[in-house]
Every structure is written in structure tokens, then in C-alpha cells.
Symmetry: C2
Subunit: 341 residues, 2 copies
DNA sequence: TTGAAAGCGCTAACAC
DNA sequence: GTGTTAGCGCTTTCAA
């Protein structure tokens, strides 16, 4: 258990200069001569100096830490976005703290507080499904700390946000289903307070209308969109003898459940019922038949989210640019939604 | 942009006491009277005091941060373990920094360094597939910082580790396949330097031997165990006309790929070929047929890993207890491996 | 181009 | 029980 970690003072001592000079040399301050910098770097390596970020954070007020809050890192979409954020952040010498809200409002509030206490330099977040108000996010803004939201956003907040065009994604998908013969399309939606579900539902409705099909409220269901929800709802619809020939879900998980139940009840997919999900989770390509879905462009989203974040960070308090970026999602057509040739 | 964050001095001033007293009160020090504590807490709330963890970390040398390194948070197993760790850690007022190595050796080394510089109080890790040496982990130990490894471990290091009994899991699975009629079982393995793949291969071999079946090296393949690897290898085996009637993979991803290729080539699963994976990824229950697999007990593993970690942390430099915990995995039998009744 | 000095906010001996 | 004092390791004016 060695406690004798090297400090800038040790370097200073060895070179007969002061700690300030060492600090400046280490930070590549232009006012330090190249000769000194070289010597400092050399000794630093030699005595295995490791900078103490804690001390520098305390003094400078900059922790070089970014907090990222996601509902769950477990989902392909979120983990891809995180990777995009990490890549840019790391290249700029920032570290990323990933926190999961587990889609729980209280946990989200706690997490925000914890990150603030850890003195992160900024926060990037995707809002939990159960979040009821955004006071905790408002607090971040009030403190002058950069905040960027992605995917699950809110328009109650004046912040930079990055989303895909959910309306467009849903519209394309439903239009595609109709073009392949569907007339009675069930829609699995969720909490309409959450932008993405609201937009996808709008896209669904608009595609129907534009194709001269009336929106039937009996075909629209609301749930948490988990696999079990998909199973339950699909079974209920089958049992209720409601007429349908297509299903468009706002989530790949619930469409997976629906597919299982359809097959269990002897429905042929896509011959009798055509289905499509949203999210392009890897498993949608594994199923039988593979499921048509919408890719959310997670990699560019991560990149752009991080870029917006650093823009904000560098702007400082000067111009509070609340920029909204909208990416075009991509419809991935697979067997579950097309007529056999 | 308000910079006027409240400090313990502000509280002290209001109450005509000193900062030390406030600090002690806030930390529930037993030498402070209840009356004082109450007053302090009240004022703290009133002026919206938020403790500065950075300052406290610098002074005390304890950051209350735990670094967790996983290959990818994207996998169900790892995210469950993380959740288990987070739960205990948070209840003890520790924060968790999740870092992903993306199974890349260099990234892992960098990550360790970054966490060390962030002055985490300890590190919990699962080693990357490509890791060639463990010097970076050795460094952690030498600094006297608690280190616990889980799942992907190494016996080159004298540290606490938590694993499942991979040999047992594989043995049970292969024994099950044999009991259901398999005689020529293909095995998908990976880098044998990694304990889990080595152990699973041993379990496979021992189960064969104990059932009087000779181990045929031609049936054992090595790869990265991704879906594509499973596809490629399965196709190669089919093309090579090697005789086989079962496949046991060390990963659910590659068995998924194998299943696809088997079906594409007209093989009936489980009638002609019985298959089983490892990991109990959610999608294994979605497939057609659902895939027999081994559950890795992620939840208990997270809990126990965290417990071992805090044991170590609390032991301090006193007794360097390198405890090894071995959990029993559970064989999940599904249609892919059993004879139709 | 470098040094001196102060201090970020907190904790922890030691004193009383 | 509470106060005094010093300092964790670094950055940053101000001065030279």
C-alpha cells in the first residue's frame, strides 16, 4: 500500500523550479519554454507522475466529467449512442459517467443530484418513461451546467436536443404496410406524454389518413411496450375478434411478443398479418420471419449529441444556443411485412 | 450562471459555529449534539447546500467512486451484474462509473488508467477478450486499491473473483444433449486463454468422456463467438460433410447464427440437430425453436461481486483476502435440444 | 519566461 | 461537544 504518489512538487524539486511552472508545463501553457516543458515531461515519466484530477477539479472548477443518463444501457440503441458520446468525449480528454435511471422517475431525480454533486461539467440525458416533471433538469440549467437531451426529450425545457424524426419513421412504416395490402393496422403505443410515442402515433394516423383509411381508436393500444405487454395485448385483440391485418408497434420488444402470440394462435405472418416494430434491435433480424423495423441511427445520434454538448460547453455562458437536431430514421424492410413474391 | 454555491462556511456563519462542526454534523459524527445536527441540517436545506464531493475527495482521499469495467454494457448479462453492483453501492453512498472496454486490450489499459486518475476508490472488472497481459491490473493491486474480477477472470492475479462454475454448466448441457440422443456434438469455443472458454470446453470434453464418447478435435472450433462467427462456422461444417447431430456453443450469439444456417440448409432443429448455447440472453427464448442455454446468474453475481468488493474496501490494508466465489449456473432447457414427445 | 502566494471546499489531528 | 489549525494537490492571479 504505497501512498507516496508523485505530485508536481516532486517534479519541481528535482528540477529546481516551482510547482506553478511544472503545472503550466504539464498543461502545455504557451508561456513556458520548450526546454522546460521537455524536462518536466521527462521527469514526470521517470517518477511515474499521475495527475490528480480531483485536485485540479477542485481548484479549476472543471471535473472533465460528463454524466450520461439513460433508461438502461442494456438496449442496443442506448449503448450505441453511449459509444458515440464516449468516442468524442475521450478524444477531448473527458470521461463519461454512465448512469441508468431504469426508467424510474425517482431514480432519475437522484441520479441528477448525484451527478451534480460529483461536479460533472455537464449532463446528457434521455428521459425516463415514468418521469412526471422536469424540475430536476430545470435545476441543471439554472446552475448554468450544459444539458443535452436525446431521443426521449421534452419540450418543456429550453435545451439542445437530438432526436430522430419519429413521425417520419412511423409514417413510412405504416405507409409501407398499407402499400403491402394492410387495411386494419393495430398500433402499440405508450405514454403519449413522451414525445417519441406521441410522434409515432401521429405518424401512424397521418399515414392512414393520407391513404384514405379511417383511424379506428379500437386499434390503438397503450402500454409499457415490453415483450409481455405485446403478448397480452395481442391476445386480447385476438380474443375480442376485432378485425385486423397488420400491427405496427412503437417498440421491437412488444412486436416480438405479438409475433409469438400470433403464431401461437395459428396466424401466418406475413401472409395473414403483417407486422413492423421500431428500434432495429438486433433480435428483430433473428426471428421467424425477420421483423420489419425502423433504425434509429444510434451511431450518428451519439456523435451529434456529443458535438452539441461540447458546443454548449465551449460557448459557456455567452450564447445559450438551444439547438434541435432531427435525424432521418431508416425503414428496414424484412419478411414480416411483405407479400410473398 | 450562478457560481455562488453554498458551502459549509455559509452554514457555519449563519449558526455562529465553525465549519468543522458543520462538517461533522453533516457526516453524522457521534461527537456532535443532536441539537446542533438538527440546526445544521435545517440551514443546509434552507440555503440549498450541496456537498462538494470533489473537495471532500481531495481532503479525505476517498472519492466514493467505484469504477466498473465491462467489455460491453450492451449485453444482458453485464447490465444485470452492473445493476446488482449499483444497488449495493448506491445504498452505501457510492457512485458507480461504468466503463466499456469494447473487448479491446488497449482501451482496457487506458480505461484503468483513466479510472485511477479519477481516483476511484476501487475497481470491479471483467476482462476483455483480447487482453494479452494483466500488468495494468497488477498496477491497481500494487497501489493498494481494491480490485474484484467477475466472470472473465484470470488466475495470474491474486484478487477476489466471482465466477460461475463454467465447467459444471457446460457439463450439464452436453450431458443433457447426449441423454437426448446426440453422439457427435460440435463445440464453439473461443480464446482458451480466457478462463470461461477454457472451462466450458473442459466441461464439454468431460461430459463426452463420462458418457463413453470420444472427443473429436474436428468438432471443436475457435472464434469470437459472434453471430457471424456462428454462421460461418456452421456453414463450413455443413460444407465439409463432417457428421454431427448436436451443437453446443459457449455463446448464445454464435448458436443463434448456427441456428439460422442450419435452417437455411434445411436441417430440422431439434429433430435432426440439437443445439444449446450459453448465457441466457433474452433472444434465446424468442427464436424458433427457443434455444436451450445456461443462465449465468447475473443478479446474484452482481450482488456478490459488490459484497466482495466492499469487504475488501473495508478490510483496508489489513488482510488482503483474495476470495473466490463460484456460483452454480442453471441449465435452461428449451425445445432446441429435446426430442419431440 | 518563471516565481510567490493564495485558496478551491472540505476533513482531521489536536486542543480545550 | 466544539473550535483551531493545517493542508490535500493543483491552478491562477499578480509580480518580477
Amino acid at each position: 500500500m504505497k501512498k507516496n504518489r508523485a505530485t508536481i512538487h516532486d517534479i519541481a524539486l528535482k528540477l529546481n523550479i516551482t510547482a506553478s511552472t511544472v503545472s503550466r508545463a504539464l498543461n502545455d501553457n504557451p508561456r513556458i519554454s520548450d526546454a522546460t516543458k521537455k524536462k518536466v515531461l521527462k521527469v514526470a515519466k521517470q517518477i511515474n507522475y499521475q495527475p490528480n484530477h480531483i485536485a485540479s477539479a477542485l481548484r479549476s472548477g472543471k471535473s472533465k466529467l460528463i454524466g450520461v443518463i439513460v433508461p438502461t444501457a442494456n438496449r442496443n440503441f442506448f449503448s450505441s449512442v453511449i459509444r458515440g458520446i464516449e468516442e468524442l468525449a475521450n478524444s477531448l480528454n473527458y470521461k463519461v459517467i454512465i448512469s441508468q435511471s431504469y426508467d424510474d422517475f425517482d431514480k432519475e431525480v437522484q441520479t441528477v443530484e448525484a451527478l451534480l454533486n460529483a461536479r460533472v461539467d455537464g449532463i446528457i440525458a434521455s428521459i425516463a418513461k415514468t418521469t412526471e416533471n422536469v424540475d430536476h433538469f430545470q435545476k441543471i440549467i439554472e446552475k448554468g451546467i450544459p444539458l443535452v437531451l436525446f431521443d426521449r426529450i421534452t419540450n418543456l425545457l429550453e435545451v439542445s436536443q437530438v432526436v430522430i424524426d419519429d413521425h417520419y419513421g412511423a409514417y413510412q412504416t405504416v405507409d409501407h404496410l398499407i402499400k403491402n395490402g394492410c387495411k386494419r393496422i393495430v398500433h402499440f403505443s405508450s405514454n403519449p406524454r413522451i414525445n417519441i410515442y406521441h410522434e409515432r402515433k401521429r405518424g401512424y394516423e397521418d399515414a392512414l389518413k393520407d391513404n384514405g383509411i379511417e383511424v379506428d381508436p379500437k386499434l390503438i393500444t397503450f402500454s409499457n411496450l415490453q415483450l409481455e405487454d405485446g403478448r397480452r395485448i395481442m391476445q386480447e385483440i385476438i380474443d375480442s375478434k376485432i378485425d385486423f391485418d397488420g400491427v405496427f408497434s412503437s417498440s421491437d420488444y412488444s412486436i416480438m411478443g405479438a409475433l409469438q402470440v400470433l403464431k401461437e394462435n395459428g396466424y401466418k405472418v406475413p401472409e395473414q398479418v403483417k407486422i413492423a416494430g421500431f428500434g432495429n434491435e438486433p433480435f428483430t433480424s433473428f426471428t421467424e420471419p425477420p421483423i420489419t423495423t425502423v433504425d434509429q441511427k444510434s451511431i450518428p445520434m451519439g456523435k451529434i449529441t456529443a458535438e452539441s454538448f461540447f458546443e454548449l460547453l465551449n460557448a459557456g455562458s455567452s450564447s445559450p444556443v438551444a439547438k434541435k437536431t432531427i435525424l432521418k430514421p431508416e425503414l428496414i424492410i424484412r419478411k414480416s411485412s411483405i407479400n410473398n413474391s
